[in-house]
Amino acid sequence: MKIKTKNTITTLAILSGALLCQSTFAAEIDVKITNLTQGIYFTPVIIAAHTSDASIYTLGSAASDELQMMAEGGDISGLSTALTTASADILENPAGGLLAPGMSTEGMLSTADTNMYLSLGSMLLPTNDGFVGLDSWMIPTEAGTYTVYLNGYDAGTEANDEIINGGGMPGAAGIPVDPGAANGTGAMGVTDMENNEMVHVHRGVIGDTDVAGGYSDLDSTVHRWLNPVAMLTVTVK
């Protein structure tokens, strides 16, 4: 986790510097996230405005424990704690649970002066450790509506075996569940290797059409996707 807790003196110095030397931008923003996939659910979404010192993930770097919790099991409590420690402004779980394919959810965020960057995370379900993410997008200072398309990423923490067995805890193999119940059972598993252990672009799931065995419990005609997987609409008031 790249979140650093600044000591009070530094924070005061930055704050006073900001007040004296440059304008900063507390903002009221509306956010709307749309699940663009046909068969993938989003677990509770976490959206945060934060400083340049914090992040949810960094491409090409290893996942934090907190990101792993979210990407493997949909648990955003670790990220929430870490972001709170970093004085981020946080919007948690605006959908009140899963965000189904094709659906949207909205929320509001009041951002503090120095929290100029927006990040987002949510697990892609059913996957082993796939997530939709936005990393440190600079919140525009000009009022208006902005659209950002988001990709599916792989946390790099778990082999994509594509076996649905309830496994959602960090380190536990397998996929927790397919909320759409389009899955098969009894698969042997696609792979037990994770080639790229850094956060990277998800290669997609492979699936198969064998509902009672085969290599994958995912259905290749239902659970595949291509980027982008989500649309984020941000309205700066």
């Binding site: 090409g60 994509n160 850094m198 990277h200 672009v201 998800h202 492979i206």
Partner: protein, 237 residues
């Protein structure tokens, strides 16, 4: 780059000898003679992260140029591009007449890895930057940047982008044994014959034997979705 370096070195040596000659000369009038204006270096740090799961990238070629392109969608690939896209050999791209300055990675860039390369040009702030690298576990897939206008970048400014995967259209995507130069196969790279559509397009992805192409040497691990890399360009001088 080599050409440029040798020119610059030569200029530097001449300047140094003049300076030395001046120092050892007792006639002070000669010391205050104005030297020829030194060329001003304009340098760009290019940081590239491989976001794929299991597609090492061939040594990254970065060129600065005023005219032309390394490729154009819908147009046949040049032999130089074909050589890079089929076999990872970027030497012909770097030697193109349009190239005014260039740099190449010294080795392939593995999945999840990040590399920083610096390209320098004299006395010019409005060059275009292009970048090309092969996804080595494909027949003729590559990614990169085409004709990025650098004129808006002042010293210290950064510009970043995600790159998509293209198909050179020069070799059929058979995925067959002996046709892929990367570690998945260690087969043949460049072949003169063109047995594909003969125009550059977006890549449709690899199929792999795990998805039913029984003659493929690739597995589900080699599949990819866009983007393939994240690139940041920073002008440093």
């Amino acid at each position: 780059m080599k050409n440029f370096k040798s020119k610059y070195l030569a200029a530097f040596i001449i300047t140094s000898s003049l300076a030395l000659a001046g120092c050892s000369d007792d006639d002070e009038k000669e010391m205050v003679e104005m030297p020829d204006p030194e060329p001003v270096n304009v340098s760009y740090e290019v940081t590239i992260t491989n976001l794929t799961n299991a597609q090492p990238l061939s040594p990254v070629a970065i060129v600065l140029h005023d005219t032309g392109t390394l490729w154009a969608i819908g147009e046949p690939a040049s032999t130089a591009l074909e050589t890079m896209a089929e076999g990872g050999d970027n030497s012909e791209l770097l030697a193109l007449d349009i190239v005014k300055a260039s740099v190449s990675g010294s080795s392939p860039l593995g999945s999840g890895a990040t590399e920083m390369l610096t390209v320098t040009i004299e006395d010019q702030t409005d060059a275009m930057l292009s970048l090309a690298t092969m996804l080595v576990n494909t027949n003729d897939g590559f990614t990169g940047l085409s004709n990025i206008d650098l004129s808006g970048l002042s010293v210290g400014d950064t510009w970043s982008a995600y790159t998509s995967v293209y198909d050179a259209g020069t070799e059929s995507n058979s995925e067959a044994q002996g046709t892929i130069p990367g570690p998945a196969d260690e087969g043949t790279g460049f072949e003169m014959a063109r047995d594909d559509v003969d125009f550059v397009s977006m890549h449709s992805g690899v199929v792999s034997k795990d998805d039913g192409l029984t003659t493929s040497v690739l597995t589900q691990a080699h599949r990819f979705d866009n983007p393939a890399t994240y690139i940041m360009i920073k002008r440093t001088e």
